[in-house]
C-alpha cells in the first residue's frame, strides 16, 4: 500500500510536468496541424537559462527565492522569444508546403537547438541550483517534498491560467475559431499569422515553466534532456487526443501515473528480471497501444460538424 500511494504521488508530480509540456504540442497542433518536435528543446533551453541566470544572481548574493524567480522569468521570456522565432523562421515559410516538410523541419530545428545548447552550455551535466528549501512531509506512509508540492500547484495554476485565456478572452476565442476554420476566422478579421505566433509563444512559456520545474525536481540538466521529455509529452498529448487542451492535461497526468506505477511494480511483476530503470518503456507502450486502438486519443473525437 505504501508503495502504491508513494508512486501515485510521484506519478502526479511527473505527470503535471508532462501535462505542461504536452500543452505546447497540442496548442500548435490544434491550430496548424503541425507537430513541433523542437518543443522539447524549448523546455531544455528554459532549464539551462534558469541555471545561468539564477546561478549568477545567487553568486552575486541575491536571496535564493528572488534569484529563482528571476531565473523563471528569464526562462519564460527566452522561451517565448524562441517559440516566436521558430515559427517565424522555420515554419511560416512552409505554411503551404506538404505536411511532411514542416515535420522534418521540426526535427531539424530540434537538432539545431540541441547543438546550439551544447555550444553555449557545454556537453556536461549541469547542477541546477536548489531554489526551494528541502522539506519533507509524510502522509499515510508515503513521503513527499516541498518541491513536489510546489510543482503540482504551479502546474495546476498555470493550466488554470491557460484555460482562462483560451475560454474567456478574445484572443482565446480567436484561437479556437482559427483552429476550427482558419479561412473563415480571417474573414472575421482575425490575423491568422498572429494567432499562430501566439500559440507558439504561449506554448513555449508553458514549456519554460515546465523546464524550471524539471530542473528543480531532478537538480540536474543537460543539453539532451529535452529529447526524451519531449517525446513523452508528445505521447501524453496523443494519449489525451492531440489538439485538445483538456486531453493534454489528462494525458500528461495519466502518463505520469502509468510510468510511476509501472516502475514501482515492474520488479515484482517480472520477479526482479526487469528493474525500475525500465520505466521509459511504459510511455512508448502507451503510445503504441493508443495509436493501434484509439489513434484519436481519449478526447480526440470529432464532434458533429454536420451540414
Amino acid at each position: 500500500m505504501d508503495i502504491f500511494l508513494q508512486q501515485i504521488i510521484n506519478g502526479l508530480v511527473q505527470g503535471s510536468i508532462y501535462a505542461l509540456v504536452a500543452l505546447g504540442y497540442t496548442m500548435v497542433y490544434g491550430i496548424m496541424g503541425l507537430i513541433n518536435f523542437a518543443h522539447g528543446e524549448v523546455v531544455m533551453i528554459g532549464t539551462l537559462v534558469t541555471i545561468t541566470v539564477a546561478g549568477l544572481l545567487i553568486k552575486v548574493g541575491m536571496p535564493v527565492a528572488l534569484a529563482g524567480l528571476a531565473g523563471l522569468i528569464a526562462a519564460i521570456l527566452c522561451c517565448m522569444a524562441l517559440g516566436w522565432g521558430l515559427e517565424r523562421i522555420a515554419y511560416r515559410p512552409l505554411r503551404n508546403a506538404p505536411r511532411l516538410t514542416p515535420l522534418i523541419t521540426a526535427i531539424g530545428m530540434s537538432i539545431v537547438l540541441q547543438n546550439l545548447a551544447m555550444i553555449i552550455w557545454g556537453r556536461n551535466y549541469l547542477t541546477f541550483p536548489p531554489l526551494l528549501p528541502k522539506m519533507d512531509f509524510e502522509f499515510a506512509g508515503a513521503n513527499f517534498t516541498l518541491v513536489q508540492v510546489v510543482i503540482v500547484l504551479v502546474s495546476a495554476a498555470t493550466m488554470g491560467g491557460l484555460l482562462f485565456l483560451v475560454y474567456r478572452t478574445k484572443l482565446g476565442m480567436a484561437m479556437r475559431a482559427t483552429s476550427q476554420n482558419p479561412a473563415v476566422a480571417s474573414l472575421m478579421g482575425v490575423n491568422i499569422n498572429r494567432v499562430i505566433a501566439a500559440a507558439f509563444v504561449i506554448g513555449s512559456a508553458l514549456g519554460a515553466v515546465a523546464g524550471v520545474m524539471v530542473g528543480t525536481y531532478y537538480e540536474i540538466a543537460h543539453y539532451q534532456m529535452g529529447f526524451m521529455l519531449g517525446l513523452k509529452a508528445f505521447t501524453a498529448a496523443v494519449l489525451g487526443g492531440i489538439g485538445n487542451l483538456a486531453g493534454a492535461m489528462l494525458g500528461g497526468v495519466l502518463l505520469g501515473l502509468i510510468e510511476a506505477l509501472g516502475a514501482g511494480y515492474i520488479g515484482d511483476l517480472t520477479g526482479g528480471f526487469l528493474g525500475s530503470h525500465y520505466q521509459d518503456i511504459f510511455a512508448f507502450v502507451v503510445l503504441i497501444v493508443v495509436l493501434m486502438f484509439k489513434p484519436s486519443g481519449l478526447f480526440g473525437e470529432k464532434t458533429g460538424d454536420r451540414a
Binding site: 476565442m173 476554420n181 480571417s186 474573414l187 490575423n191 464532434t303 451540414a307
Partner: protein, 234 residues
C-alpha cells in the same frame, strides 16, 4: 459603393472568372446569378480576398481593396457569408455571433446586436448555448448571416444562402435578407436559384463561364425569354 473592374480569377490554368466588370450602389440589393461553375463564388471570394485575383481591380467606397490582406476586408465594412456557411462547429451559437463582432470593441453595442440577431432568428436564441456543429443546415445558415451582420457591415456578400436547404428554411432566410436590405443594407447576393434571386433583388448580373452575359433590372430579367429558358426552367 462597390466597383469591380476587369476582375480575373484563375486556378492553375483554369480560368474561373474572365475579366468581369460590375458595380453595386449604396442601398441596393444586387444579384449575381448563373449556373454552377459560372464563376460566381470565385468572384465573391476574390472581392473578400479569400483568394487572389490574377488581374483587375476592386474598389470599395472609392478605395482600392484588391491588395489588402483578408483580415482587413471586414474592417473596411465588407462581410461575407461564405458558401457552405462556415460556422465554427465547436463554438456555441453565442460565441459564433461574438466572433462576427471580432473587429468591434463596444461591448454594450455588441450585446445589443446579438439580441437583434436573435430577434431576426428566434431559433438561434433557443440554441444560444449549443455548439454550432449540432445545428441543422438552415440554422447554420441563419447563424452565418447573423454572424456577418454582427460586424455592422456596409456591404453584405451572400454566397448561395439557399444551398441545400428545405424550401421552408429558404423562405425564412430570404425573409430576413429582404428585411435587412429594406433597412438599407447594401447586399450582393449570389444564387443558383435564379427566380428567388431575381424576386428579391433590384438589379442582377447573369454570369456564364466566367463572364457577365446579361444585366439589368431584375424585374425585366425575370421576363426575359432567354433568362426564362436558361435559368427558370421554361
Amino acid at each position: 459603393m462597390l466597383e469591380v473592374t476587369g476582375l480575373h480569377v484563375a486556378y492553375g490554368g483554369i480560368q474561373a472568372v474572365r475579366s468581369i466588370t460590375f458595380h453595386v450602389k449604396e442601398g441596393e440589393l444586387v444579384a449575381l446569378i448563373g449556373a454552377n461553375g459560372a464563376g460566381k463564388t470565385s468572384t465573391l471570394k476574390a472581392i473578400a480576398r479569400v483568394i487572389d485575383a490574377v488581374g483587375g481591380d476592386v474598389h470599395f467606397c472609392g478605395e482600392k481593396i484588391s491588395r489588402l490582406p483578408p483580415h482587413d476586408i471586414i474592417r473596411k465594412g465588407i462581410a461575407l457569408v461564405p458558401e457552405g456557411r462556415g460556422v465554427f462547429p465547436r463554438l456555441t451559437v453565442a460565441e459564433n455571433l461574438a466572433m462576427g463582432a471580432f473587429v468591434r470593441d463596444d461591448k454594450a453595442g455588441i450585446a445589443n446586436d446579438i439580441e437583434k440577431m436573435y430577434a431576426y432568428f428566434p431559433r438561434l436564441k433557443e440554441r444560444e448555448t449549443q455548439l454550432a456543429g449540432t445545428l441543422s443546415g438552415g440554422e447554420q445558415q441563419m447563424l452565418a448571416i447573423g454572424r456577418a451582420l454582427m460586424s455592422r457591415p456596409k456591404l453584405l456578400l451572400l454566397d448561395e444562402p439557399s444551398m441545400g436547404l428545405a424550401p421552408i428554411m429558404v423562405q425564412k432566410i430570404f425573409e430576413v435578407v429582404r428585411a435587412v436590405a429594406a433597412e438599407g443594407m447594401t447586399t450582393l447576393l449570389i444564387e443558383q436559384n435564379a427566380k428567388l434571386a431575381l424576386e428579391v433583388s433590384q438589379r442582377a448580373y447573369v454570369m456564364e463561364s466566367g463572364e457577365v452575359t446579361l444585366n439589368g433590372e431584375s424585374a425585366q430579367l425575370l421576363n426575359d425569354p432567354k433568362v426564362r429558358a436558361a435559368y427558370l426552367g421554361e
